[in-house]
Symmetry: C2
Subunit: 116 residues, 2 copies
């Protein structure tokens, strides 16, 4: 954990409004990583924890609840023993992937340019 982020409250302009609309879903330390991990298909709670090593159970739980509430992912609980839960992107959630891809592309550029 080295890079910094910031809080957010929505501004109001016409286009920037749409910017903020999506940023609110994407933003934060872990939300984008969670969505990224679910890109290839459903994942369980503990799988997400190993996918995104330094995330704490509390924060992962909070992020998952938030993303579920926003309609980005759904929770499937299997009442087995031991219990198991799967998280999966909704069609709406999958629409975020192109944006994340674009962000990853720029991430590569930022890295290479900085080391140049």
């Amino acid at each position: 954990m080295t890079l910094k982020m910031r809080h957010n409250r929505s501004p109001k302009p016409p286009e920037p409004c749409m910017l903020t609309e999506c940023m609110a879903v994407i933003a934060g330390a872990w939300a984008p990583n969670v969505i990224w991990s679910l890109r290839a298909g459903p994942r369980r709670f503990s799988e997400l924890r190993t996918d995104i090593p330094p995330i704490s159970a509390k924060v992962l739980s909070a992020r998952l609840s938030e993303l579920e509430e926003r309609g980005v992912l759904v929770r499937h609980v299997r009442r087995t023993s031991p219990p198991s839960t799967e998280y999966e992107l909704t069609p709406l959630g999958r629409e975020l992937i192109p944006a994340l891809d674009a962000i990853v592309q720029v991430g590569h550029r930022l890295k290479t340019v900085r080391s140049a």
Copy 2:
């Protein structure tokens, strides 16, 4: 100001690393809006303030310094009277625009889906 964002510290996975690399630049309440406002060309401090109404001078100043330090934009000071300062995206900063465009696209989808 209604939508929420979160803090950030970088994780470590291979791809998600690139995700976070760019998110650190893009994240926060105002950074994306500042970049968006500079998309069409150089802007002065007060112009940015009116472009992004509810931003305070302190925060705008902080964001501009940060983005300058990251090599996303440059400051041109004109020692006139009254003084004037222009901010302009660097080539590196302009590389962020496709990502912001993608984010705006999803923003539209999020809005329409939610009202459906």
